[in-house]
């Protein structure tokens, strides 16, 4: 086992290293044949594993994958929230209690406002559904690195979120608090492109270095 362990460690290092660095790992494995004894080979192999880990952490491609996945998971999280809201909206359309409607009545909303609210409700629920689906698609395309499809889904999500906010503001312009979609809109419009631009610049800096 003592003789096999250094080879096992170096093979782990081989798998850990980025593809472009594989020849270095082969070099490390070859060096094990020249170690003075088993202990020296083990120490050498442990160091090689550490070196491989450092290289993996430094690897620009690994960084970009991690960042893309982080953005994708965050977007998917928002999508799930939108879809939960949509599911709640569908339940309301089928007779469940509507908390927003109750709040409007409590705040003394006029009959015109309530009529507009009732008319717009199915459209807003549809917006929630479409926004959730578009954001899920955005996350999916981003995780697969399909930039054009991601950009298309992102634009669609942005338009839907804008529509949802506009509809809500047109019904209750002075409603308590900002509509929830506003945050989704803000994330879609600012955070995601900002993160992607930052990621792109970072990658370029890595390449220049």
């Amino acid at each position: 086992m003592m003789q096999r362990l250094p080879h096992i460690l170096c093979n782990v290092a081989l798998r850990l290293l980025p593809r472009s660095r594989r020849s270095w790992a082969d070099g490390m494995i070859a060096e094990l044949w020249h170690a003075d004894d088993d202990r020296a080979a083990l120490a050498f192999a442990s160091g090689c594993l550490l070196a491989a880990l450092r290289e993996r952490v430094r690897d620009a491609h690994t960084h970009s994958i991690v960042c893309l996945w982080t953005i994708a998971v965050t977007t998917a999280f928002y999508a799930v929230i939108q879809l939960v809201c949509a599911a709640h909206g569908v339940a309301v359309l089928f007779g469940a209690r509507d908390g927003m409607r109750d709040a409007l009545l409590r705040h003394g909303a006029s009959s015109t406002v309530m009529a507009n609210y009732d008319v717009a409700r199915p459209i807003v629920v549809g917006c929630f559904l479409a926004l959730g689906a578009a954001q899920l698609a955005t996350a999916w395309f981003l995780s697969r690195g399909q930039v054009r499809l991601f950009a298309s889904a992102w634009c669609i999500a942005l338009v839907i979120a804008g529509m949802a906010v506009a509809i809500q503001l047109s019904i209750v312009p002075n409603g308590a608090g900002v509509p929830f979609e506003f945050h989704a809109l803000l994330m879609q419009a600012v955070a995601v492109p900002a993160l992607l631009i930052w990621l792109h610049r970072r990658q370029r800096q890595f390449q220049e270095w």
Binding site: A30, W33, A51, R54
Partner: protein, 101 residues
């Protein structure tokens, strides 16, 4: 971009490679010679190779049945860089001692 100052570990590696700059050197031998762990040595070698300061080549092992070894030596740019860097940095205590050619 601004050139970063080499780390003390890089200086040690450069010194060792500069001592016999024409010869091909091996990873395990360098760890013994410099006293650096392989976990520190290899990232330094990789960085030097990325910058075109180090060249690598596969060479036949002198041990029967052993696979070819990955050998390293400084390029001409690497030698120039090593001369500047090692001159600028005071010699580390107990560090790399001159080896017989």
């Amino acid at each position: 971009m601004r050139q970063r100052r080499p780390s003390p570990q890089t200086i040690l590696v450069l010194r060792a490679l500069l001592l016999r700059s024409g010869e091909w050197r091996y990873g395990y031998d360098l760890t013994k010679e410099i006293g650096l762990q392989s976990g520190t040595l290899y990232p330094v070698l990789i960085r030097l190779a990325d910058k075109g300061l180090l060249e690598a080549e596969w060479r036949e092992s002198d041990r029967a049945g052993a696979p070819a070894r990955h050998a390293y030596r400084l390029t001409s740019a690497g030698v120039a860089f090593a001369l500047i860097s090692t001159d600028a940095m005071p010699r580390a205590e107990g560090g790399n001692k001159p080896m017989p050619a």
